[in-house]
Amino acid sequence: MITGDSQQQVIPPTRSHVKAGFVVYSPDSGKRNIIILEEGELAAVDRSNGIRSTVFKMQPGDLIGVAALLEHESFKYPIEATRDSTISIVTEECMESELKTLPVWMLAVIKNLSSKTRKLKEALFKTRCENTLKSLAEYCSHLEAKKDYPLDEFIQEFHWLTKISKATIQEDIKTLVRRKFLIQKGEKSSSIRIASPILLQIFVDYQIATEKGETWAPFMLTLDQKRVLVKLSSIDQSQKMDAPAWIAFFTEQKININVAEWIRLQKFGWFQPDSGNTFSPCTDNIKYYLAALHFETNIRGVL
């Protein structure tokens, strides 16, 4: 146990003289030692493919095996003396006895450096996506509707893009199928079809808003705002009017819209301003809000 007690007995490193050609470390040995070169020259050699090549040379003061000793990460090349050399070997026992004499903060620094490195290395193989469902929906929203995509290839491509594990991808596909955003087809569900790319894009936007803790605009419309939306979807989309005329139009339809409400409607992007202070309905945004309301249960996942 590491205590930081400076009264512990320290085991010194073993000092050895080795002849040129002597193998001071072999990966097969399973030994976890730090080798410090005091004098001479050592080299890491690669004998794979039957050819001996020097990976790197070590000069006096250099050391090797720290990762092997502290993190059980063995060094993969044998180390040979290229000249008569003097080495010091820090064994596990020697290291442990030395560490016991260190102050706790120094041990913590060593531990933190090792742990940071290990986490960074592990992160190389992990996905950065936290919301894997959102990620899959974004990917699918750019695929064509009514086209069958072979499932294997679909999963492979998405895995390549995001590093999300194939098991997670399969789970997320099931979730999107349950929500009716994707359709599995063929024998043993061997292909995937996108129900509607726009719905998937709406789902991504909803997920983004939810992650930020925001209430998503399409799901907080008042009854009058919903009536405006429905009315707008049923009229001639090329119709242009100024703001007072639009307010009067909705009043005629018995929809209570005042100036403040008109300003709020602008924020939804249902009207696009034209030249000369007139506005016309913005078809894409109207369709977007209508689809969001129509598929609210699918989007919220409360089927």
Binding site: I36, V90, E98, T127, S135, L161
Partner: protein, 312 residues
């Protein structure tokens, strides 16, 4: 050292040379790079600033006390005096661990950049194909890349700068920046080429050999010089013209049926009559090809070998 709740211990980027150990209370850390991400908490036992202590690195985070906090400060002098009491190899181990951590950080950054490229190209090529437009608002692109792969906006900006250096696209505008592709085909082609390599573990047929590129470049040169009008985007070059120009521009390479065969197989050059790899090239009177497709392929082959070097 005591820090009252709400007080700042240090600011990101400030010069530093000490280690902080939280004895009691709680510090929260944040940085510009991780804006919007959850705050990092440092409770009792946490240590902050190993690199400041070991190599006087600037503070990586702004630290604020979330409650009344007591910290112990270890200065570089204390580090030196501790190391002086121990064998030299301990110092070497610390140096080794520090540099190894920096290498791991660099590798992670490079890996993130390489990993983010396909996502960026996927979003850009999808946008080009969906809208038929060569431009996309930068903000929308960043939003979609984050949704797809969680690559931060700064990483997307760095990737775009690399792709701009390669002449693949341009980022323009002051406030509402726009990403404009130099060609409608090259970005989708590049994505498809990377995708093919990843899914099939082999080089895409879009990647041409040097000889194939030289033949196609010769074809393009003749087509441009001759001003022969194209029909439905197809241009026609006689075998005689091709051989004559090849002699001049292909550095002594003799054009034969065998040289042309891979391009015929890939349907990049269409022979006027039946093509036989063993017959003399002159048996084919002329070749025709989709001019724009060849230009895009040549552009792809110019960019592809430069990608990795430009990214990292």
């Amino acid at each position: 050292m005591q820090i009252a709740v709400g007080e700042y211990l240090c600011l990101e980027g400030d010069k530093a040379n000490s280690l902080y150990i939280v004895k009691s209370g709680m510090l929260v850390g944040f940085s510009k790079a991780t804006e919007g991400a959850p705050l990092q908490n440092f409770g009792p036992g946490s240590i902050i600033g190993e690199f400041s202590l070991l190599e006087s690195a600037a503070h990586e985070l702004t630290l604020r006390a979330a409650e009344d906090t007591v910290i112990e400060v270890i200065e570089q002098g204390k580090l030196q005096s501790t190391l002086d009491k121990h064998p030299n190899w301990l110092r070497s181990i610390l140096t080794f661990l520090t540099s190894r951590c920096h290498i791991a950080e660099e590798n992670k950054k490079k890996s993130d950049m390489i990993q983010a490229l396909p996502s960026l190209l996927y979003i850009l090529s999808s946008h080009i194909q969906e809208t038929g437009s060569d431009s996309m608002p930068l903000e929308l692109l960043q939003k979609k890349v984050i949704a797809l792969n969680n690559s931060p906006a700064e990483e997307t900006d760095r990737l775009l700068a690399s792709l701009q250096n390669l002449g693949l696209l341009k980022v323009s505008g002051e406030q509402d920046k726009v990403v404009r592709a130099e060609s409608l085909q090259t970005i989708p082609l590049l994505y498809e080429t990377l995708r093919y390599r990843a899914l099939n573990q082999k080089v895409s047929p879009n990647i041409l050999s040097m000889t194939e590129q030289m033949v196609l470049s010769t074809f393009v040169k003749i087509a441009r010089d001759s001003n022969v009008p194209q029909h439905n985007g197809l241009c026609t070059i006689t075998t005689e013209q091709l051989k004559a120009e090849a002699k001049k521009s292909m550095h002594g390479l003799t054009l034969t049926s065998r040289t042309i065969a891979p391009l015929v197989e890939k349907n990049l050059l269409e022979p006027s009559n039946a093509f036989d790899i063993h017959a003399p090239l002159e048996q084919v009177s002329f070749f025709f090809a989709d001019f724009e497709k060849i230009l895009d392929l040549l552009e792809l082959n110019r960019i592809f070998p430069l990608l990795d070097k430009n990214l990292v």
